[in-house]
């Protein structure tokens, strides 16, 4: 496997008595999709914010491309789709994509054709002139994903990307993400749905109660999944490699 492009080692976040994360290890590799599994409240979104460079760890280190993940050179190469899409209700879909394209490091090369390509892939063709405030949850979700993808980032952090999408849209998204990985992007796909990972991910990292409890190939997940997703920490730790 290639060297990790994004890595978090022994990361903790929060205050001493109220740690949201306490020992998260995760690494993303170019051309591979990493599933990120955990129950609601396990700390997936906080971990993703740390990987995206918007939060700083209390302990441990998060690096992207060999430098601190919060450095602008690192953040510029990371596309992040938060669980709640980052939309302003008074802007149209097209304006959101334009904003995301203009904030991409290679803004000049982010052509209209890339936006059209994403709109087609995500089924947004008919809503580009509509205000975000008038969109359904699923459409908002797809706009958020398009905003993360429009700059062709080297790393994609997708926080519960399939939430609110119908089955056909989920299939299309899987294909799009696989295509991004084939292009060479390192992808993190966060979910609490086990079955989804088998279809889209190459590897899986599972966290429980703010701690990494499993990292390995999807095929090895079955034995560890139960422990990772709800067994007592002692049992879960036993399942970790």
């Amino acid at each position: 496997m290639t060297e990790a492009v994004v890595a978090a080692a022994g990361v903790a976040y929060g205050y001493d008595r109220d740690l949201v994360l306490d020992g998260v290890d995760i690494s993303l590799h170019a051309g591979r999709v990493m599933g990120f599994l955990g129950r609601n409240g396990a700390g997936k979104s906080t971990t993703i914010k740390l990987l995206a460079g918007v939060l700083q760890p209390t302990r441990g280190r998060v690096t992207a491309f060999g430098i601190d993940a919060s450095a602008s050179a690192a953040r510029a190469r990371v596309g992040w789709a938060p669980e709640e899409p980052p939309l302003s209700s008074s802007l149209t879909v097209d304006e959101h994509l334009g904003l995301a394209a203009s904030l991409a490091p290679a803004a000049s090369s982010t052509t209209a054709s890339r936006r059209d390509e994403l709109c087609n892939a995500l089924g947004l063709e008919g809503v580009t002139q509509r205000l975000a405030g008038a969109l359904s949850k699923g459409t908002r979700q797809r706009v958020g994903l398009a905003m993360a993808l429009v700059g062709r980032p080297d790393v994609l952090l997708l926080d519960e990307p399939s939430a609110g999408l119908d089955p056909a849209q989920v299939v299309a998204l899987h294909a799009l993400v696989r295509a991004e990985a084939a292009r060479g992007a390192a992808v993190l796909w966060s979910t609490h749905v086990l079955a989804e990972l088998a279809r889209v991910a190459d590897d899986v990292t599972a966290i429980a109660a703010g701690r990494t409890v499993f990292t390995g190939p999807v095929a090895a997940l079955d034995d560890a999944a139960a422990a990772a997703l709800g067994a007592p920490r002692a049992a879960a730790s036993g399942a970790a490699p």
Partner: protein, 259 residues
């Protein structure tokens, strides 16, 4: 950074709620201007009818009409500043996303606060249409010559209103960024602003030395000269320090929230 600034302005001004804000603002300002103008003209007509040269000499359109309107705008901005800041900072997930995409924390803060300052500047700038209308369509100068609009005084007065409004908005942004709660922060900021505004009235109770210090801290003490067209270095320094201090404080609060 320009992309961020464009985004801030697009959401603040060129949006349905932004245009509504501009409309309501113009309605308020137009109302103030009309009532002040009617009062001024009535006084002028009375003085002309009585041929009272002393009163006519006192009726200066710049000091009694335009400065009064601008002073009213500052009071409106005392309410509007926290609202503008609250609206701009009520974008939770979008704010974090913008922070992630921004070239630097400084670029994010400058664009966001720049958006607030430009929004206030546009709102106040639109009010220049009122003296302009008066200059074009107003009555010819009286014998005393007090009906001639002093362009420099009007511009200096407008600038200080922009500075005051921007300071109110940025001070509110500091509180909102510190507590990370737009509504609560805006309410606290409003209370702080009103207290700062009224603090000069407390000077008789705290002695002359402390009183002068307290009065110097209040925005109300740094308006009057500029509204009369006087550019005073102390006033300029006060507004610049307030604006820059708020910018630095917001940057510190946003950076602190990331840790």
């Amino acid at each position: 950074m320009m992309a961020l600034l464009r985004h801030e302005l697009r959401t603040a001004l060129w949006s349905p709620s932004g245009l509504l804000l501009v409309g309501v603002w113009l309605l308020f300002v137009g109302g103030f201007f009309a009532s002040e103008l009617v009062a001024f003209e009535q006084a002028e007509q009375r003085a002309l009818a009585l041929d009272d040269a002393a009163v006519l000499a006192m009726l200066d359109v710049n000091d009694l009409l335009l400065a009064a309107v601008l002073n009213n705008l500052v009071i409106v901005l005392l309410f509007l500043g926290p609202l503008l800041a609250m609206r701009q900072w009520s974008d939770g997930p979008a704010r974090l996303w913008l922070l992630q995409r921004a070239p630097s924390l400084r670029a994010f803060v400058v664009a966001r606060l720049g958006g607030q300052v430009v929004t206030v500047a546009v709102l106040v700038g639109l009010t220049l249409a009122l003296p302009s209308t008066l200059a074009v369509l107003g009555q010819p100068a009286t014998a005393a010559g007090n009906d001639v609009i002093d362009v420099a005084q009007t511009l200096v007065g407008t600038l200080v209103v922009v500075a005051a409004g921007a300071s109110f908005s940025l001070l509110s942004a500091v509180v909102i960024a510190a507590v990370d709660q737009p509504l609560g922060g805006a309410l606290v900021a409003f209370v702080v602003l009103v207290a700062l505004w009224l603090v000069p009235s407390a000077t008789p109770f705290v002695g002359p030395t402390l009183g002068s210090i307290v009065a110097a801290l209040s925005p109300a003490s740094h308006l009057e000269r500029a509204l009369r067209g006087v550019v005073h270095l102390g006033d300029v320094a006060y507004w610049l320090c307030l604006l820059l201090g708020c910018g630095v404080a917001v940057g510190g609060c946003v950076a602190g929230r990331r840790a």
